[in-house]
């Protein structure tokens, strides 16, 4: 292995990918450009917008701020891994049904932040929902229907 690149294993959506990466590549770079998983979006590449949110061991993480090499040995969940057997996850379905999606660029990161919240806190208050998605910028929706969609999932399971 030279100083600038090497072979790593990444566990993404339950599948192990063995790939050659440069040491300075972010997880976002690798997911999109090397693995072709373009569902995770590049909004700012400097950790301020949340569009690149993935779950690492269940925790919402800004993939533009994590080096790919540092993500080895972790369980990474991207938006592509959320629906099972072609069925939308309840959070995805709620976003669709309640008009919480407009341009859609913030949507993958937003949904994953919501999933992380509901997995750790199945009955959040509206304030807790807003705090959980406060790191995910949206320019289209004003967040209102996003909050409504997440609370609707809480209501169904609660």
């Amino acid at each position: 292995m030279n100083n600038h690149s090497g072979i790593i294993d990444l566990n993404v959506n339950g599948k192990i990918y063995t790939i050659k990466v440069k040491n300075n590549w972010s997880l976002l770079d690798v997911l999109r450009d090397e693995l072709g998983l373009t569902g995770t979006k590049r909004g700012c590449d400097e950790g301020e917008c949340g569009a690149c949110t993935v779950l690492i061991n269940g925790k919402p993480t800004l993939s533009c701020l994590i080096l790919a090499v540092a993500a080895q040995g972790q369980e990474i969940l991207t938006i592509e891994g959320l629906s099972e057997n072609g069925e939308l996850h309840p959070i995805q379905q709620s976003f669709v049904d309640l008009g919480a999606i407009q341009c859609g660029l913030c949507t993958p990161g937003m949904i994953l932040s919501a999933k992380a919240l509901l997995d750790s806190n199945p009955h959040p208050t509206e304030e807790e929902v807003r705090a959980a998605i406060n790191g995910n910028l949206c320019r289209c929706t004003g967040y209102a229907k996003i909050v409504e969609a997440i609370m609707a999932v809480v209501g169904k399971t609660g």
Binding site: E80, C138, C140
Partner: protein, 768 residues
């Protein structure tokens, strides 16, 4: 004109047709696409706001392994462009790569295409440019002075003037009981689309250029590219990718498309060029800042009789849309409320900053801030309730404004009353206990807009042999929901289930042209879609009538069936008639139509006094806010926000609510937190999301309500009018008015930062 009808699809809360693919992360934005052999582009921008370019040495960049093309201004023909040149010839002033002068920090000077982005960026560092730094001028009032640096080496920096004059303004001031004179100032607002600008350019063996672009106006990009590249319009194909927001920023072609095209030509390979977030803030144009001097004549009963306005519109470094937008702004000042005498003198001025372009509301958020703030100043002085003052001066259906704008449908009064009632106006107003309520209204174009020519849109609706309908429309979905709206309109017109109507991707090789500005999509593209669908339906009914020896006029469609109107009996499925047409007769069923709004101001209908109507109809809104102000920090918390909006007819209420929510979020940012900050050297100080603050989930009011007022416009499809822009027009004024109610300070400059609130409170205290 329709009476209050119930429809099957129109008026229903239909989920977006692209929602599922977006929820899965499967929608493809420009940066998600790759082509075989594709290169990655990067752009070198000037670090100086005003400088002569003395020399450019690209030799080291060209030698870097992996670099396939380097271009500068000398590689491109001397063809300037600006969006406005289509309507104001001679105003084109921008080269894709500047070669003589840089005029703002962000101006494009050179570009590179390489095998990966890292190499392209490294190559930029190897390009050596020598500049002669020139004095900068940042403030538009300074830029108007004879002694200021001349940004385009012309006699002056004023590039356009407007002088509109209706009625007898001087008489109205002579006869006024009160005269109000106020100065207002509004800032640059950045679009902050979550998706930055991007495109992929590829030249074919046949010499045709294909551009995949995050464009809001595909067929206009075709024209603009044709002008700047100097190749025939028909040799350019523009394919619109999924847009991650636009709000006007992707309406006029930017330098990104011609730069990518030239890189691809030189490298003989496709080139993807996508801006990073810093470039997006630096260079992708803004809402025009402006300074207003607003003088208003008022009678003691509150009747507004005259208005005189001076506008200084800060163009930034290049024209883009500025000269035309100045005229639109002037006409807005001449059209709000029943004011018969209005005079406007306006100036569009170059400065060494990022330049302005279209942004949701298109000069109206700026205008409304001035007019609607002053309405409350007037109300306070005259001791009239601000709601009553507005109702007194409101326009109504059938009125004609001083500017010549005609209002075939108008729900302004209803919007005002409903917004005031919903916020609890009577209970909450005038308490001055750090909580306050404020209201503001707007008038906005509701149909096509004559920005320079009439808006238009072509549409084809084809019913295939399986009985499915395919729409090819020029309309552009940018996240606002027009794709779904158009599909609903076509499904309703055809009598089809919405799942049997498909909208084709926008490709200028396949879809008819269009040209319209923003929210008129409902009226213009919706109107064209309805008409094309009606044409297709007529063909199907005529065929079914022939097949069954019936009269066409006895037949109609519903739920995918043709049925006899009198008996209610099903005659045959639509698919059977379609199959017969295609497979037996060999005749495709193609409905086609276009919307063109006919005579309006710029297309020939000008009154002797220079007035004329801009749009076939107008939308209206009233917004009300409840705020809480912390007098120790100056922080303003928005507790509740109401939008009451005259939409004509709500094609998709869920979609409109979403648009209104998002518009309010942008309007609140415009009011309180957003504004690009330039220092005296023209350097942009807040070119990132950390320092340019848009509203986040925790910032938004917890109570956000949209009230839809349906006035059923006689000209709109199913009575609908434009909806998407109105919800951010009066927002800033509603907030300024609520702050005044809460703590007694009037702030006339946006954004209303905590610092400004504190400063005003301290000044207020001293004066008392």
């Amino acid at each position: 004109m329709s009476t209050k009808k119930t429809y099957t699809v129109v008026g229903k809360r239909v989920p977006r047709i692209d929602a599922k693919e977006k929820a899965r992360g499967e929608a493809k934005y420009v940066d998600d696409l790759t082509l075989p052999g594709m290169l990655y582009g990067a752009t070198l921008r000037t670090p100086y706001a005003h400088a002569r370019i003395l020399s450019i040495d690209t030799s080291k960049a060209e030698e870097l392994p992996g670099v396939k093309a380097v271009i500068t201004g000398k590689d491109l023909p001397d063809r300037k462009f600006s969006f406005i040149q289509a309507f104001y010839p001679g105003r084109e002033d921008k080269l894709p790569l500047e070669k003589e002068k840089a005029r703002y920090i962000g101006d494009e000077i050179a570009a590179v295409a390489a095998v990966n982005l890292e190499t392209a960026k490294r190559a930029l560092e190897l390009i050596d440019i020598k500049y002669e730094v020139l004095p900068t001028v940042i403030d538009p009032e300074e830029a108007m002075e004879a002694s200021s640096p001349k940004i385009h080496d012309k006699e002056r920096n004023v590039v356009e003037e407007v002088h509109d004059n209706f009625g007898d303004v001087d008489k109205s001031f002579k006869e006024a009981d009160y005269i109000f004179e106020d100065r207002f100032r509004v800032s640059h607002q950045a679009h902050c689309c979550m998706e930055t600008h991007g495109c992929i350019a590829q030249w074919g063996d046949d010499g045709r250029l294909t551009i995949w672009s995050s464009t809001q106006m595909a067929s206009h990009y075709q024209w603009e590219l044709s002008e700047v590249l100097g190749i025939p319009y028909g040799d350019i194909r523009v394919i619109r990718t999924t847009l991650g927001g636009s709000f006007g920023s992707k309406q006029a072609m930017h330098t990104i498309e011609p730069i990518a095209a030239y890189l691809a030509k030189k490298a003989c390979r496709p080139v993807k060029l996508v801006y990073n977030r810093e470039e997006e803030f630096l260079s992708t144009r803004t809402r025009h800042p402006a300074i207003f001097g607003l003088k208003t004549a008022v009678k003691k009963d509150g009747t507004i009789t005259g208005r005189e306005v001076k506008i200084i519109l800060d163009n930034g470094a290049y024209n883009d849309m500025g000269p035309g937008l100045l005229h639109d702004m002037s006409r807005l000042f001449c059209s709000y409320y029943k004011v018969p005498n209005v005079r406007v003198n306006g100036y569009c001025v170059y400065t060494n900053k990022g330049y302005g372009s279209a942004f949701r509301g298109f000069s109206n958020p700026q205008t409304a801030f001035a007019i609607e703030s002053q309405m409350d100043i007037i109300a306070k002085k005259l001791n009239i309730d601000p709601v009553e003052l507005r109702l007194k001066n409101a326009v109504h259906t059938g009125d004609v404004a001083a500017s010549g704008w005609v209002f075939p449908s108008c729900g302004l009064s209803e919007c005002i009353e409903k917004a005031a009632a919903a916020i609890g106006w009577k209970e909450k107003r005038g308490k001055a206990n750090k909580r306050g309520v404020g209201l503001a209204t707007c008038t906005h174009w509701g149909g096509g807009l004559t920005f320079g020519q009439s808006d238009f849109c072509g549409t084809i609706v084809e019913i295939n042999s399986g009985g499915l309908a395919y729409i090819r429309s020029g309309e552009v979905e940018m996240g606002q929901g027009s794709d779904t709206e158009i599909t609903q309109i076509v499904a309703e017109t055809l009598g089809f289930d919405i799942k049997d109507v498909k909208l084709m991707p926008l490709d200028t090789d396949l879809c008819p042209s269009f040209d319209y500005v923003g929210s008129p999509v409902t009226y213009v593209a919706g109107g064209a879609a309805k008409s094309a669908a009606s044409d297709a339906k007529r063909q199907i009914l005529e065929l079914a009538a022939e097949m069954k020896a019936l009269n066409t006029s006895d037949l109609d469609t519903m739920n995918g069936y043709i049925y006899d109107i009198k008996s209610g009996e099903k005659v045959m499925p639509v698919s059977e008639a379609a199959h017969f047409s295609y497979e037996i007769r060999g005749v495709p069923i193609i409905g086609k139509s276009s919307f063109h709004q006919g005579p309006t101001m710029f297309s020939g209908h000008v009154n002797p006094d220079g007035s004329g109507t801009y749009s076939p109809t107008y939308s209206f809104a009233a917004q009300a806010a409840e705020v809480e102000v912390d007098p120790t920090t100056g922080l303003v918390k928005v507790l509740e926000f109401i939008t009451a909006q005259d939409v004509g007819k709500a094609i998709n209420p869920m979609g409109i609510e979403g648009q209104a929510d998002g518009g309010v979020a942008q309007g609140l940012g415009y009011a309180l937190t957003e504004g690009l900050e330039y220092n005296s050297d023209g350097k942009l100080l807040n070119a990132d999301y950390g320092h340019y603050r848009i509203f986040r989930a925790q910032d938004m009011p917890r109570k956000l309500t949209t009230i839809l007022v349906e006035t059923e416009d006689p000209g709109g499809p199913f009575g609908a009018k434009a909806v998407g822009e109105t919800s951010m027009v009066p927002t800033a004024a509603a907030i300024a008015n609520a702050i005044e109610d809460a703590v007694g300070v009037r702030i006339k400059e946006l954004p209303i930062t905590p610092f400004k609130v504190l400063e005003a409170l301290i000044k207020n205290k001293k004066e008392k």
